[in-house]
Structure formats: C-alpha cells, structure tokens
C-alpha cells in the first residue's frame, strides 16, 4: 500500500512538474516571439521601406538577385513554362514602357532592396501584382511583406480599383507568406499549372479586396 502511494505521489508530482516546465517553455517562446516581432517592426520603422517608380537600369540589378533558373521562374510567376519562349525582363520592360504595367523599386535608406510590379486591367478596376523580388537580407521576409503592403496601398489609392489579384507557385513559401501577411487570401490552387523542365508546379491564385472602409458604396 505504502509503495503504491509513494509511486502515485511521485508519478503525479513528476507529471505536474513536466506540465509546469512545458508551460514555462511555451510562455518563454511566446515572449521571445512577441519580442522578435517588436524588434522586427522597430527595425523596419527605423529603415523605412520606400517605393519609387523603377528606372530601367534598376531592373538589371534586380534581375541579378535571382541567381538560378528556379528563382527566375518563381519570381516571374506568370503563365509561362521553362525555358521561357522570350526574355522575361525584356517583356516586363516593354510593358513598363507602354504604360500597361508599372514597375516599382523598394528602397531602405536609399539602398535598392526590393521590387514589384502592378499590371492594370479592366480599365483600372483590377491590378495584378507580380514580379515580387527582395534582395537577400536578414529582414528580407519583413521587407517583402512591407513591399506587398505598399504596392496594394498604391493600387487602392485609385478610388476605382476594386480588387487585386496575383499568382504564386504553391511551393514558394516565402512569397506565399508575404502575400498572406499583407492581406491576400488564397482562393484557387491550379494543379500542375506550369511545366518547368521535367517537373510540373502548382500555382495558387490569390485576391485582395479593397478594404471595406475605403469602398465607394
């Protein structure tokens, strides 16, 4: 009897100890995570991301950040296969020059750190966000979210803009996360939408509606 009691007592106290330790570890992780997020936000505020209309010379530097065919096709993200039928940069430049699409450079303390494009459709009621690319940086993920937020704000600055759309490869975790954190919602998964060499990639279609407070009616 006495042995049973001792065993039960030991077992219960060890279990309670383990639960307490797990709870403390979880609380510590939450505090660390909240602290990291605050630090992140503070650093971004210190080094404010500013968008300016891209100059053709900047596109050359931006293109150099994508160092492999995989990164290039993830960056372009359009309805295209690899190898591409034409030069994607030349196509983007031609669209930029014709006014069909606007290309935007993101700078932090005057250094070029990111890039994105907006393609207006349906008389300016829809903009397609594309070509998101951020230079390798400790805070690259946070900068990417900020670039997407600012591109969305830029698009919605036009009172006639109703909704934004984009397409992103399903495996491209960094971009998917940046879009979601900036408010985009995934709606459609197109299976095996692009053929890249011998692989096929799934593509996700996302949308972002004008914030309700800004709707005209």
């Amino acid at each position: 009897m006495g042995g049973d009691y001792w065993f039960t007592y030991r077992y219960k106290s060890q279990t309670a100890e383990r639960i307490r330790a797990a709870e403390q570890a979880r609380l510590a992780a939450d505090v660390r995570s909240a602290y990291r997020q605050q630090q992140f936000a503070a650093r971004l505020r210190r080094h404010q991301v500013k968008l300016t209309a891209s100059k053709p010379a900047e596109l050359v530097e931006v293109a150099s950040w994508a160092s492999s065919p995989t990164e290039v096709i993830e960056w372009i993200g359009e309805d295209s296969n690899w190898p591409p039928a034409d030069n994607p940069m030349a196509r983007l430049l031609a669209r930029h020059r014709s006014g069909e699409c606007s290309a935007w450079s993101a700078r932090v303390s005057d250094r070029l750190v990111g890039f994105g494009a907006l393609h207006l459709r349906h008389g300016g009621k829809v903009a397609e966000l594309s070509h998101l690319l951020v230079k390798r940086h400790r805070h690259g993920a946070a900068i990417a979210v900020e670039v997407v937020r600012q591109l969305a704000a830029l698009a919605f600055a036009d009172p006639h803009m109703e909704v934004l759309r984009l397409q992103v490869y399903a495996h491209d975790t960094l971009r998917n996360r940046a879009y979601e954190q900036a408010g985009f919602r995934a709606a459609i998964l197109n299976s095996r939408a692009a053929r890249v060499g011998t692989d096929t990639w799934d593509r996700v279609e996302m949308f972002l509606e004008r914030p309700s407070a800004q709707r005209l009616l």
Binding site: H122, V126, I188, L189, S191, R192
Partner: protein, 98 residues
C-alpha cells in the same frame, strides 16, 4: 463541335471535397455566367457520379478573352464565397481528338 484556330478550348477538372461541396458549387454557379462577358462559353458541365468532382468544357473566342475572364473583377470578388477554402482544379488546354 467546331474548333477554329483562335478559339481556346479548356477542360477544367474541379475537386469537390464532400465537406465543402456547397461552398464550391455556389462559387461555380456564380462564376460560370461571367464567361459570356469575355467570349467564353460553357460547352459541357458534368459531375462525377460520386459527386467528388466536376468537369467543365469551356471555350473562349480568343486567348485575350480567357485572360479577361481570369482577371474579371466580379470573378475575383466572388472568390470571397469560398470562405477561405482553397478550390483545387486542374486546367487542360484541349483539342478535338483525331
């Protein structure tokens, strides 16, 4: 079925998970009528006997029409009907079999 040179013929295979069937079908019922705005036509809409998928055979007069449908603001706004669910589909560009 005639298939001229500029026409684009698509077969769209849509997954209908049983738990989200009502949501997916509500979205599809709302979106398909928008095809006609862009020279698109729903040629056939068939459903798997076990209700797990639908196949839509859709034609567009041109590739531009297909792109205009994809970016139609009404289509994009209807995506909210999916209530955060991810609609899974596979799109094949098809042609008459010889």
């Amino acid at each position: 079925m005639k298939h001229n040179k500029s026409e684009v013929l698509l077969a769209v295979l849509i997954d209908i998970p049983p738990e989200d069937a009502a949501i997916v079908l509500t979205y599809e019922d709302a979106v398909l009528p928008l095809l006609s705005r862009h020279g698109g036509r729903l040629q056939r809409r068939v459903r798997a006997v076990d209700q797990s998928a639908e196949l839509h055979l859709i034609s567009f007069d041109s590739r531009e029409g297909q792109e205009a449908f994809a970016t139609d603001p009404s289509r994009l706004q209807l995506m909210r009907l999916l209530q955060g669910r991810l609609l899974r589909q596979r799109v094949f560009e098809v042609t008459e079999a010889p």
